[in-house]
């Protein structure tokens, strides 16, 4: 065809790059987030991210809610490890209110948090596999996440949005089935994790796909505010559990795995190693919990009558319990004036709660430090000059959870 037959729009001939819109509802984004990629062939020239598709104004809503009603908001942030968010929130409240939790409560919390961490890492690592074309691992480990969810169910009755625990402890003691399932998990999971690792760790295709892609230096990672496995993969041994221990993490003996290059492969390895560490913490915590005998083994909450719902039986028979019950349920408890920052090691980094109270019944201001939100901005730097298919892997290995990002 000669030139006179084609009428190209003016200027279009100069454009040598392709604009590709990835997301917000693309299967590879694993969540609602949009990437506008400028491609030269298959190489990424620049990216621009749009987020906020599932923004639910949690920080604003929290300003009208009594403390215990905010727990349900935290569930919906990183929903792959909601118990960590719940516990983090309770620990923040306890810090503000000056409540000291008994050791048994701390250990039970550690059990739930480490189970949550395993389920979080498990999803992330197996999804990286899926994005590299290996679906088997994902399906195989899913039944162990199911087992973790069953333990959640025994403890709090819910699976995904757990609303687990209360300010001061748990709503009830763990039942025998929960412990039996935990034992089953501790017995069977190591073998499964080993097999899962065998599938990927030295797999030629997987290594070629993940090594030297999406890499970041320790210095840049720190400057970008990376925390959690993503920072540790770059070689910085920062872990909130060790640096500012909460929930008696100082009683446990564990290592902080670190990587060297900060690429997708290292992130995958660090998460894998952390699961082993979590397993070891779980075993230690379970042993510690078993050491409590008699009346001590019945302790599952702190003595904080103004914030912890009393037993239903007491509500019907005792005046004080009735008053506290009413005040808590109606959200009529004044919280002390103060300003507190508390963070926990979430599934994908430092999950922080900055709570300002002016002495009213609800927080004056509550700000969540959401690790996903902070490190997603590094996406352009991680993927620039790389291939489009590697960018997909980078996205999943960063463990981006839209719920947490958008709050």
């Amino acid at each position: 065809m000669s030139e006179q037959h084609i009428k190209l729009p003016e200027g279009s001939i100069e454009k040598t790059t392709t604009t590709l819109n990835l997301g917000p509802t693309h299967p590879a984004t694993h969540g609602v987030m949009q990437n506008i990629l400028e491609l030269d062939g298959e190489r990424i020239v620049s990216t621009e991210q749009t987020i906020g598709y599932i923004h639910r104004a949690f920080e604003k809503i929290a300003e009208r809610r009594p403390l215990y009603q905010i727990t349900t908001l935290t569930d919906r942030m990183n929903y792959c490890s909601s118990p960590i968010n719940n516990m983090g929130w309770h620990i923040t409240c306890e810090k503000l209110l000056g409540i000291k939790t008994p050791k048994r409560v701390d250990y039970l919390r550690v059990i739930m948090m480490e189970l949550a961490r395993i389920s979080d890492h498990l999803i992330c690592n197996s999804i990286v596999g899926v994005d590299a074309g290996a679906y088997t691992g994902f399906l195989y480990v899913m039944q162990y996440r199911e087992l973790i969810y069953e333990i959640y169910e025994e403890v709090c009755g819910a699976r995904l949005t757990t609303n687990m625990g209360r300010i001061g402890g748990f709503e009830r003691n763990f039942n025998d089935i929960a412990f039996q399932k935990l034992e089953k998990f501790l017995k069977e999971y190591p073998k499964v994790l080993k097999e899962f690792e065998n599938l990927f760790q030295r797999n030629r295709i997987f290594m070629d796909r993940t090594r030297n892609t999406g890499a970041i230096s320790a210095e840049r990672a720190l400057n970008y505010g990376f925390t959690g496995p993503n920072l540790r993969a770059a070689g910085v041994d920062y872990d909130v559990r060790v640096h500012t221990p909460y929930s008696s993490y100082e009683d446990f003996d564990f290592n902080i795995p670190v990587g060297t290059t900060g690429d997708n492969y290292d992130r995958w390895l660090v998460r894998g190693k952390e699961m082993w560490e979590s397993l070891s913490i779980l075993e230690q915590a379970y042993r510690k919990v078993q050491e409590f005998k008699g009346a001590e083994a019945e302790v599952f909450h702190a003595d904080a009558p103004a914030y912890y719902l009393p037993e239903k039986e007491d509500v019907y028979t005792k005046m004080e319990a009735l008053i506290y019950h009413f005040k808590i349920v109606m959200g009529e408890t004044e919280i002390p004036k103060g300003e507190v920052y508390q963070s926990v090691e979430g599934g994908n980094g430092e999950l922080g709660f900055y709570l300002i109270s002016d002495g009213g019944r609800t927080p004056y201001r509550l700000h969540f430090r959401r690790p996903c939100f902070i490190y997603y901005q590094a996406f352009e730097e991680l993927t620039k000059g790389g291939m489009l298919s590697d960018a997909i892997m980078t996205m999943s290995s960063l463990n981006l959870i839209a719920g947490e990002m958008d709050s």
Partner: protein, 196 residues
């Protein structure tokens, strides 16, 4: 060992009377500086060989409507990872002139954090490379986290919604709102009790 007392001393040496409001709520050193100085203070904290606050943990806004002339605050949480010390640094500004220097030159992490803070509180981060809304829609023309936008009052009765228990059909079509909300709630519940 880097103590709060020592950090305070260093700041006082450098900025004299300009850094004020030293407090230690729950053990975290908190202080404030005039907004023109925010970058100078951040730079000092970052560069000083002893202080080394090189990790920006989080950055957020707060609105105090009663604080005339200094209604809005930006709160920086900084972390010295080497000595494991955290501090909180606040900068207040007038709501009618919410200009504040951006920290993006120092911390890449501040980029989205500042966009978010702008989005919800309307700060103008001077020098920010891409200051536009991030979580809200771009067409939005107000700053929703400011206190003049209260959340719905749970006791309001001007909404008729049988399904969700706000007033129900008892008040349908009539204006039952009175000056005092509490009164109208009582009136409403009395009507609910009436048969039919």
């Amino acid at each position: 060992m880097l103590t709060n007392e020592h950090i305070k001393q260093r700041l006082k040496e450098k900025f004299a009377e300009q850094v004020t409001g030293f407090e230690e709520p729950y053990g975290m050193l908190t202080f404030e500086a005039p907004k023109e100085l925010n970058l100078k203070v951040l730079n000092f904290l970052y560069d000083d060989e002893e202080l080394r606050f090189r990790f920006l943990t989080t950055l957020g806004g707060v609105h105090y409507p009663a604080n005339k002339g200094r209604e809005l605050a930006v709160v920086y949480h900084l972390h010295n990872l080497a000595d494991n010390v955290r501090i909180r640094f606040k900068v207040f500004t007038d709501i009618n002139l919410p200009d504040i220097y951006t920290a993006t030159g120092l911390f890449s992490a501040a980029n989205w954090m500042e966009r978010e803070t702008y989005d919800f509180y309307g700060f103008n981060f001077v020098g920010h490379p891409n200051l536009k809304r991030i979580l809200n829609v771009e067409e939005m023309d107000y700053f929703p986290m400011r206190k003049e936008f209260p959340l719905e009052d749970q006791s309001r009765v001007d909404k008729d919604d049988e399904m969700f228990g706000r007033g129900g059909s008892a008040g349908f079509g009539t204006d039952t709102r009175e000056e005092d909300n509490r009164n109208s709630v009582t009136a409403e519940s009395e009507k609910d009790d009436a048969p039919g």
